[in-house]
């Protein structure tokens, strides 16, 4: 029978068996998890059911209305606000990526103060009281030494109450130097419209109802002015109206996204868009389409622009100019727009005025489908504004004691030889109000983190509006993630610490009170228009749920009359000046805003970094577009690293063979090349703005983007071009099938 040794063996085996059985049972159990309830359940949160909050999209200056899906206090999805007149429920790629600005891992979490020298970029976290007392004490020093004008406030383009608050703070503090600076500020467009049509608010370009749209270098579907509204118009122009389909002709040296959708692309020589517009205007006059009395005066002005004379200069054959002019004049209503590319030449204003003349002569101004004026904004627009050049001059002269920057990044968006870094060096005290550690904030001494747009109060007066006043309200969808504050709160609390005049004129203790109070004054002033809402609270709830305030009925059309005499000054017969002589620097350099990074501010959003560029499908980097024929002649293959040299800077960029660009032109997108902007944007790609001369235009004080020529040489290393496309030939596989237009009109 069983011996003792066998019994012990059996016992051991049994033990092992039970243990293994137990472990098996343990392993297939789902791990126990907690079910944490609320202590005091908030009444509006139902776990599993989403709330929608309407707010404002601040990804670019178009000011579309958005609704944010919030589930248990977390923002999940941004969509267009269906009631909002600008974007009618739609949203562009940048708008959708606004969420990643809120939940970005590289946001600044607490106020920081500089530890080492400016180059070392080390910061120490401090509390808000400490930070505000440092700021207030510095400003108090200025007030005592009574050189209050030594305080400069540099902010991005802010319309609405935040700009109003900034301006009142500067006035009460006693400094006239409030500067608004953005790379794409459309200052040339505003100046040209002011000179030629006498309006100081951007007009509404009614793309939806036009029959022929001449777009002079305007990437209106992608980044210019209000892309979503333009896209809606474009969709309506093409297939919205039964039976009639609008045509789009794009006139630009580099084929942009809008150009790709055009029916015809005229690759005009860079810098001669204005001259081509005047050529068209001349043909309209010559062929008698213009019925105005001062016809012979216009004839005299436009005489040097006969199509035959300008065809060689603009590199387009004159027959094409004539047919286009006839079509444009007879396309009741036609519309000609001058976009970012046309405005970025050294004499950008001349090009825009030429296009305005063309619109005037083809009688498109003030008509539906043409250029419609917008009424005056309800909130007083900030007037006394200086330009970035003033800041640079004063800083170099040592006039600037303290500089407060908010939400703008001039160190990145200004070229190297405008010497912004040297200017910042001799400003003793720089304060930066920003959410991310971008280049300008890295140079600051004191960094105060501000809310991103989804956790903040604010509003915006849409400019260009859609023919009537539109104000969009930005309300916080989620409670703030980190220890950041509203920029208005920061200024108001410093005003309180600075005491007497400032405290008296700015009594509100936070931005929200100021914001609601000023809306109450607007509501009192224009009571007759809100007959529906007797009490302010009801009006305010309606505005918050609807996402803003707009009334379609109040379409006061200022009648625009064209001012002919001060237009003569701006008619030039020579193409725009490009730095660098012809033979040493053979290529024109065209810079354009990337559809994802805009002017570099969205480079730290991973969705936009990984979004394939619409025209080249390149992701996570910069590239230079070069014509395949010229590349073939120079022996350049796709992806080779090129050394791009201009008289002012050098750049290493991989090449992309792009058939949609003139042989004598190359173009690089703006947006990459950040030094310190978080893990997604840090030292990735290169910044083409360093190639530009720093000289700014005298009329508007902005830096022209297309103003230099470059030289291309192949460099030895292998470029890193990451492309999502395979081969863009269709091999007649009927993938994108087309119908010729005339056949449509027959049936």
């Amino acid at each position: 029978m069983l011996k003792r040794r066998d019994f012990l063996k059996a016992l051991g085996l049994g033990g092992v068996g039970t243990g293994l059985g137990f472990m098996l049972g343990e392993s297939i159990k789902t791990p126990a998890t907690n079910l944490i309830p609320y202590v005091v359940p908030p009444e509006d949160i139902v776990p599993g059911v989403a709330n929608w909050y309407s707010s404002l999209c601040t990804q670019c200056n178009a000011g579309c209305g958005i609704i944010v899906r919030v589930l248990e206090g977390r923002a999940k999805k941004i969509e267009g606000n269906p009631h909002h007149p600008v974007n009618q429920g739609r949203l562009c790629a940048m708008g959708q990526a606004g969420l990643q600005a809120l939940y970005n891992p590289d946001r600044i979490k607490t106020p920081l103060i500089r530890k080492g020298s400016r180059q070392s970029e080390e910061f120490r976290a401090i509390t808000w009281e400490e930070a505000l007392s440092v700021l207030a004490e510095n400003l108090m020093k200025l007030k005592i030494a009574s050189n209050t004008e030594k305080l400069f406030l540099l902010s991005s383009v802010i319309r609405g109450h935040m700009g109003h608050l900034f301006e009142t703070f500067m006035q009460n503090f006693g400094s006239p130097n409030y500067i608004q600076y953005d790379l794409f500020q459309h200052k040339e467009l505003i100046f040209a419209n002011k000179v030629s049509m006498g309006i100081n608010i951007l007009p509404y370009y009614d793309i939806g109802n036009t029959n022929l749209l001449l777009s002079f270098g305007a990437d209106f579907l992608n980044t210019w002015l209000s892309p979503v509204n333009h896209s809606l118009g474009y969709g309506h122009m093409r297939q919205g109206r039964h039976g009639s389909r609008g045509r789009l002709v794009q006139i630009e040296p580099r084929l942009s996204l809008s150009g790709a959708n055009a029916d015809e692309w005229i690759p005009v020589r860079p810098g001669t868009e204005g001259i081509l517009a005047l050529g068209l205007a001349y043909t309209i006059i010559e062929e008698g389409y213009y019925k105005g009395q001062d016809i012979n005066e216009w004839n005299k002005i436009l005489s040097p622009y006969k199509p035959e004379m300008i065809s060689e200069l603009t590199n387009t054959d004159n027959e094409r100019i004539r047919t286009l002019a006839r079509e444009f004049a007879s396309a009741r209503p036609g519309l000609a727009i001058a976009g970012e590319n046309a405005a970025s030449y050294t004499d950008g204003v001349n090009h825009i005025i030429a296009v305005n003349i063309l619109n005037h002569l083809a009688d498109n101004i003030g008509k539906t489908g043409g250029v419609i004026s917008n009424p005056e904004a309800p909130i007083k627009k900030t007037q006394s504004l200086k330009d970035i050049d003033a800041l640079l001059r004063n800083a170099r002269a040592g006039e600037v004691e303290t500089l407060i920057t908010y939400n703008t990044n001039p160190v990145f968006t200004l070229p190297h030889n405008s010497k912004i870094q040297e200017a910042l060096e001799n400003i003793p005290f720089v304060v930066s109000l920003s959410c991310f550690m971008d280049e300008t904030t890295a140079h600051a001494d004191l960094i105060l983190p501000t809310h991103t747009s989804l956790e903040d109060w604010g509003d915006d007066i849409t400019e260009p509006a859609t023919g009537y006043n539109t104000a969009t309200i930005m309300q916080p969808a989620v409670s703030p993630l980190y220890d950041s504050r509203n920029a208005g709160d920061i200024l108001l609390s410093t005003a309180k610490r600075l005491g007497n005049r400032l405290q008296k004129n700015m009594p509100w203790d936070n931005f929200r009170d100021f914001f609601i109070e000023s809306w109450k004054t607007i509501y009192e002033k224009q009571r007759h228009t809100y007959a529906g809402e007797p009490v302010f609270e009801d009006f305010w709830n309606k505005v918050l749920t609807q996402g803003g305030w707009w009334d379609q009925e109040k379409r006061t059309h200022q009648s625009i009359h064209f001012i002919k005499d001060n237009v003569k000054r701006f008619i030039s017969s020579s193409p725009s000046l490009f730095q660098g002589n012809e033979d040493e620097f053979p290529f024109y350099l065209i810079l354009y805003a990337h559809s994802g990074y805009y002017d570099g501010r969205h480079a730290n959003l991973p969705w936009l970094q990984e979004m394939p560029d619409p025209m080249t499908s390149v992701v996570w980097g910069t590239w230079i577009e070069i014509n395949p024929q010229t590349a073939g002649k120079m022996g350049i293959r796709e992806g080779d690293l090129l050394l791009v040299e201009s008289p002012y800077g050098k750049l290493h960029v991989p090449a992309y063979l792009y058939p949609g660009i003139r042989p004598d032109t190359v173009s690089i997108p703006i947006g990459q090349g950040h030094k310190t902007y978080g893990r997604y944007a840090g030292n990735r790609g290169s910044n083409p703005l360093d190639l530009l001369p720093g000289i700014s235009r005298h009329e508007t004080g902005t830096i022209p983007l297309n103003s230099t020529r470059v030289k291309i040489t192949k460099s030895s290393e292998k470029g890193n071009l990451v492309k999502m496309e395979g081969i863009t030939k269709e091999f007649d596989r009927q993938i994108v099938q087309t119908i010729p237009p005339y056949e449509r009109r027959q049936n």
């Binding site: 092992v16 309830p37 776990p47």
Partner: protein
């Protein structure tokens, strides 16, 4: 050779018994909760309806567990000094939520909507068992896919067998 078979039999028997011990005595059907809350007293004797505490069951996918405020609402007056209820009061002072242990734990790729089932007239007891009679909440049903499919089959739910009805 006979010994070999004997040993292997012993080993298999102990293995099965070890597994049985684990699933019966150490099972996760009845985890210990931080506070010995008894459904029998609340729902059974005092007849408090389910939806009084689990308010979200009719409006959303998750049924929701009552916040500490709801407990304190009654227990500020009723039997303040009882040991378990003083624990609730302690959580209330410290403003800390009560860390209940989840008994009915579905994997997160499952889409189960309480709202749909309640509005289809399914009574809470059919899945959670006779909660009114339980002192400590125990999981009576396996919450496995086969069990859900049986119920959907017997009620012949429209699209009841479609994967995406319950998966996410």
């Amino acid at each position: 050779m006979r010994k070999f078979f004997l040993f292997s039999f012993i080993w298999v028997a102990t293995f099965i018994s070890g597994y049985w011990i684990n699933t019966s005595w150490f099972s996760d059907k009845q985890p210990a909760q931080p506070i010995a809350f008894s459904h029998r007293i609340h729902a059974g004797e005092n007849g408090i309806p389910c939806l009084y505490c689990h308010i979200y069951a009719e409006r959303s996918t998750a049924a929701g567990v009552p916040g500490v405020q709801k407990c304190i609402g009654c227990h500020q007056i009723i039997k303040r000094d009882a040991p378990e209820i003083s624990k609730v009061a302690d959580y209330w002072e410290r403003k800390k939520p009560i860390p209940w242990i989840k008994v009915h734990n579905l994997p997160d790729f499952v889409y189960f909507s309480h709202k749909r089932h309640i509005r289809a007239g399914i009574d809470c007891n059919s899945c959670h068992g006779n909660v009114a009679g339980m002192d400590v909440i125990t999981r009576v049903s396996s919450l496995k896919m086969g069990w859900c499919i049986d119920c959907h089959m017997s009620h012949n739910v429209k699209n009841g067998r479609d994967c995406w009805t319950c998966h996410k």
